[in-house]
Amino acid sequence: MNFAATKELEAEVDELITHYPVKRAASLMVLHAIQEQFGWISQEAVQWTAKKLELQPINVFEILTFYPMLRQEPMGKYQIKVCRTLSCALGGAYELREHFCKKFGLDAHKHGAQTTPDGKFTVEFVECLASCGTAPVMMVNDDFYEGVSHAKADEIVGECQ
């Protein structure tokens, strides 16, 4: 197991576990804590979590594979999440994602999150970001952008250094 948890992470996880009546209930929060620190959750991290929570790795792996926002591989430095739920879909979300794909040389026909070879950008569709009146909307990491035209998109990407 080559996953090394820092002392801080270990302390955070130990504290998280105390929030719940059974250790297993802390699974999701522990995975969040790991992703917060490493940006993704490796198989070794799953094994570490399972050991921490006195579970089998498959129990944790089930959760990890259920949620697309829990990452099973490293993502780009800037994660562009384009909303594709109804209003945004009508408002040009598909064209917006295609624009990003073209810009970064990614395959627009491929499903799921895609990362540029230099590891700088990840582009993916997400479901509703709760701003249907200002479609299309998207997020770059934790920042939210509304009414994203292609020109605005280029501008946002330009600021990502």
């Binding site: 089998q56 498959i58 089930e62």
Partner: protein, 561 residues
């Protein structure tokens, strides 16, 4: 494993209250509590009441020996309860019977307890529609590759499709294709798109085998049974998941694509890999064994068996089986060889004969050998086989019939203690004739040099070994699958097994030629059939007194050991 699976599950004699329910209009009395998968008494469910009423309720995820999860929805039924008035008293019909209020919604019968006066309806149009609907949705992403599916012929999807399926699919969208031929472990191959996610395999391996190795990964239509990457599904009970998989998703690598199951002849037998004696069905076709599957016996193995025992059948069909009766290397007939052996034994001096029998032989054979032993004043013993045991079914004693050898007087309670005495007897020249059944004595302290000193080395075995090479007389014997007989397991369960396949060449069931030999030497006769032989033995051996071949039934009888 739960205690229920390895001990008698007849409910404790403490009276369990009975309650009356109606299944499709027929009133039956059922116990209020029934042992669940773990043997614990729990409230009787509707599906159990229906089973007691001999009414079939189709189901996938429910299994009587596994925890209930209620996820397949196939066992939905309608039901009604006695109506209560505003005064909380039963409302009566004009004829004085309680008025039944039909519940507006159905319930899954596997997880809904019964209550007094409940009426269960399994044949209403609504129930039929629900079954059709559940089946249709289960088949949405199912590949319908029945022609090449190993489960075909014993598949619950096929069976219920006959009852509730539709001849044409209404599904016009694209099916989700999940992975085929996923290597789950050394003995299990998963076809993910055939899986209906009933979770029987997950519950079995977690709760019965105690190895929480399987889970459901991904989401929605992409849900797939999986192990954690790099952790193969590899405990000694994995193949049971193939048995309980209601569809063709989990397949046995050993049996996969080998045989259409409807060509198999199934013979009731007993596993010989250890002293537990799990009940099995031998699936064979044209004298070739294709597979073992466990046969339910709550007094021994429940519905399970271990992988090692299940796959331990290939030696029976080996090419180097002993097939010929040989006298000093020359092929001869059974009559000639047995006559010659009988003459030599009759002329032998008391105490000059020793017998090494095998605790892999049947009760009947060991008893016949004990008759020879007492007539000849011979010393006898057998060979112990000790291995690893586990908490479920595997016994440390790898002989299937150690208790039979003890009860028939072939060996003492500690098996193999007389072997040095036999070796010394041969060395000193006192023992001139050695009879060996199914054991390679060169590995147990009677080496080739000692065997070379014997006047007569009479050996019956199935496969060649160092002892058979030195034998003056070779009497080719039968595997248990090639004959009938009985074993006494580690707990004293006497269990009979039937003949599945023919023995190769001139090989003959040991009890048959032992009968001839015993008749020639002792004059004792009267048991030319296995039934007669067993009954004669049962009358003679005190532990077996009162037993008959017929009363053993399919699941055996426990005797005091």
């Amino acid at each position: 494993m739960s205690t229920a699976a390895t001990t008698e599950t007849k409910p404790a004699p403490t009276a369990i209250e009975k309650i009356k329910v109606k299944v499709d209009g027929r009133e039956i009395e059922v116990p209020r509590l029934i042992a669940d998968w773990s043997g614990k008494l729990t409230p009787t469910t509707m599906i159990q009441a229906c089973e007691l009423a001999k009414t079939e309720v189709p189901h996938y995820c429910y299994h009587p020996k596994l925890p209930v999860v209620g996820n397949c929805r196939m066992c939905l039924v309608e039901y009604g309860m006695p109506a209560l008035g505003p005064d909380r008293k039963p409302v009566l019909n004009s004829d004085g019977t309680p008025k039944i209020a039909k519940m507006p919604r159905p319930a899954i019968s596997c997880a809904t307890p019964i209550s007094p006066g409940m009426e269960i309806y399994t044949t209403t149009p609504a129930v039929k529609q629900m079954r059709e609907g559940v089946l249709e949705s289960l088949l949405i992403n199912h590949p319908l590759d029945c022609p090449i599916c190993d489960q075909a012929g014993e598949c619950k999807l096929q069976e219920y499709s006959v009852d509730y399926g539709q001849s044409a699919s209404r599904f016009v969208e694209t099916k989700v294709h999940k992975p085929k031929a996923v290597d789950l472990g050394p003995r299990i191959m998963l076809d993910a798109e055939r899986c209906i996610l009933c979770t029987r395999c997950i519950r079995f391996t977690k709760d019965i085998a105690g190895d929480d190795a399987l889970g459901i990964i991904n989401r929605g239509s992409y849900n797939t049974i999986a192990t954690f990457p790099g952790m193969p599904f590899d405990n000694n009970y994995t193949l049971n998941t193939v048995d309980i998989c209601p569809v063709g998703a989990l397949t046995s690598k050993d049996f996969r694509f080998k045989m259409r199951v409807w060509f198999l002849k199934e013979t009731k037998s007993v596993c010989t890999s250890c002293a537990t004696g799990c009940n099995v069905l031998i699936g064979s076709r044209e004298d070739k064994i294709q597979r073992y599957t466990p046969r339910e016996n709550d007094a021994v193995n429940g519905p399970w068996m271990c992988d090692a025992g299940r796959l331990n059948y290939k030696w029976i069909g080996r090419d180097d089986r002993l097939k010929d009766v040989l006298v000093r290397g020359q092929k001869t007939t059974w009559t000639a060889a047995l006559n010659e052996i009988s003459d030599k034994l009759k002329k032998s001096q008391a105490g000059s004969v020793a017998i090494v029998a095998s605790a892999r032989q049947t009760n009947e054979e060991l008893w016949l050998i004990s008759k020879l032993k007492s007539k000849l004043g011979a010393i006898s013993d057998s060979v112990a086989r000790v291995g690893e045991s586990d908490k479920l079914l595997v016994s440390a004693d790898k002989n299937p019939n150690t208790n039979g050898a003890r009860l028939t007087g072939i060996c003492f309670s500690e098996i193999g203690t007389s072997l040095p005495q036999i070796a010394n007897g041969i060395a000193s020249g006192k023992i001139k004739t050695l009879i060996v059944f199914g054991e390679d004595v060169t590995k147990h302290g009677i080496g080739a040099d000692l065997l070379g000193k014997l006047d007569n080395l009479i050996v019956s075995d199935i496969l060649p070994n160092a002892t058979t090479k030195l034998a003056h007389y070779i009497l080719p014997g039968c595997a248990h699958a090639e004959k009938r007989g009985s074993f006494t397991n580690t707990k004293g369960r006497v269990q009979k097994f039937m003949k599945a396949v023919e023995a190769p060449g001139d090989a003959r069931a040991e009890w048959e030629f032992l009968h001839d030999l015993v008749f020639n030497v002792t004059g004792q006769d009267g048991f030319v059939t296995i039934e007669g032989l067993f009954n004669a033995m049962a009358a003679d051996v005190s532990a077996f007194n009162g037993l008959t071949w017929a009363t053993l039934g399919d699941t055996g009888v426990t005797v005091k050991i």
